[in-house]
Amino acid sequence: MTTIREEMWKFKGILFNFAISDLKIRYKNSILGIFWSLIEPLLMLGVLFFVFSTMFKFEIENFPIYLLLGIICYNFFKNGTTFALNSLTNRSSLMTQIYFPRSIPGISSGVTAAIMLILELVVLGIFMIVLEFTPPITILILPLILALEFLLILGISLPLSVLNVKFKDTEFIWMVVVHAGFFLTPIFYQFDMLPDNIQSILQFSPVVQIVTMAHHVVLYGVLPSINSILYAVGSTSVIMIIGYLIFRKYQSRIVEEI
């Protein structure tokens, strides 16, 4: 782990350069392009709000903010990991010509997703102002929760970036996981609405815990429970360790496979 941190520091120029150029490529160098990234979560918000407030009559306090916060947290996870999938293959010509640590593209995908997250949080702020919602003081803990989510993203991105070079169907499998995860995460429902036995399985998902904690601190002014913190930190650590081991196993010969 320490080597990765050192590499990140030594190559931080490249890291941010990659992250910014990824954003530029994604949005075709246009300023308007950045707004396209916001359309997707807002559209999602509109659809989910319509379905669950008019058809199913869910009664969750401040439902629009509850929904948007969940979508934003999940989007961060989805963007970070899916950008990482092709981060190495997209740079194959660079990889075969200049040496740089293989971890850089995977990490920079996480940074790209983090930049998009900040934009989406601005939109969330605008929603709060428009809906005249004053967040409780516990919202100050949100950055910590998102930082934990960033670590989780790194723990998944690094192995995904090398596995997708080695096994071309990693991408499809991961997309299924991400889609399923959206419905298994309390984004448009509350966690305690689920049956007990399902709760006891899903509590191991770090994303579930992160989204739940975010809801707690932003909407209800409740500090995350010790249980949530333990599960979230524990599962993230396990994922990071396994992810790092997978990454280390494949990274040295990965250029030959590209």
């Binding site: 120029g13 350069n17 150029s21 010509q97 200049i98 080695k166 096994f167 250029v255």
Partner: protein
């Protein structure tokens, strides 16, 4: 202690060729129930050793698939050798084939920044040099054009200009003169000569024997991954030509 710019000792590299490569998780899982498939190994480099002095132009010749590109990639740390060691003093600029890892969707200027940052330069240093790079590459009109719209010659010029103006200690040139026009070729040769005068090492790979004979101080002939000959250009080129005639 030695004063070599590059010293390569007993480097070997093997590749595994899968006749039917399993490259999906699905295939790997199903193959547990199938017969073993064939794969064979290719010894791309076999016990290669050589040294390049400061201020030396070192040519490498050999057939396609003879291990030239693999060797260059090992020198620039892109591949790791199976055994042996490579010692390079100073910064190294690989110019392997066309484009210095240029991204087709980014403009010429953005690409210069990206490559130079990768080569270890700070943003401010690059900003000072960008104009010179564009001017050297004769691409003033196309500075903000995306690389995907560049011709092969334009890409090569940009790559060459970027690599020489960041002033590396070791320059690797792989078939760079195939695409530039005569005017630019002359400019390249002049630059290479000035590099040589300043004591920098240059590795030069080409299939064109004229520049090899005219410019190189020492030439190595790679014969199917082994060192065929290291010596004066005339000697190595004639060994290579003899070898080719026996191959028919």
């Amino acid at each position: 202690m030695n004063d070599y710019a590059i010293s390569v000792k007993n480097v070997s590299k093997k590749f595994t060729l899968h006749h039917e490569k399993r490259d999906s998780i699905f295939e790997s899982a199903t193959s547990l129930f199938q017969k073993k498939r064939h794969s064979e190994t290719l010894q791309a480099l076999d016990n290669v050793s050589f040294n390049v002095k400061h201020g030396e132009i070192f040519g490498i010749i050999g057939r396609n698939g003879g291990g030239k590109t693999t060797l260059l990639r090992i020198i620039s740390k892109i591949y790791s050798p199976d055994s042996g060691s490579v010692d390079v003093k100073g910064t190294i600029i690989p110019v392997l084939a066309l484009g210095l890892g240029f991204h087709p969707e980014l403009t010429a200027v953005t690409n210069i920044f990206q490559s130079s940052i990768l080569l270890g330069f700070k943003k401010e240093e690059i900003s000072k040099r960008v104009e010179d790079i564009i001017k050297f590459a004769e691409l003033e009109k196309f500075a903000d054009t995306k690389i995907k719209n560049f011709s092969a010659g334009m890409q090569m010029r940009l790559a060459f200009a970027t690599s020489v103006l960041v002033d590396p200690d070791v320059l690797i040139l792989d078939e760079v003169f195939a695409v530039g026009d005569l005017n630019f070729q002359k400019k390249c040769f002049d630059t290479i000569m000035s590099f040589k005068k300043r004591g920098k090492a240059i590795i030069f790979v080409s299939h064109d024997m004229t520049p090899i004979k005219n410019f190189c101080d020492t030439v190595m002939f790679l014969k199917d991954g082994k060192v065929g000959n290291i010596g004066s250009p005339e000697e190595s080129v004639s060994t290579y030509v003899d070898y080719l005639s026996t191959q028919k």
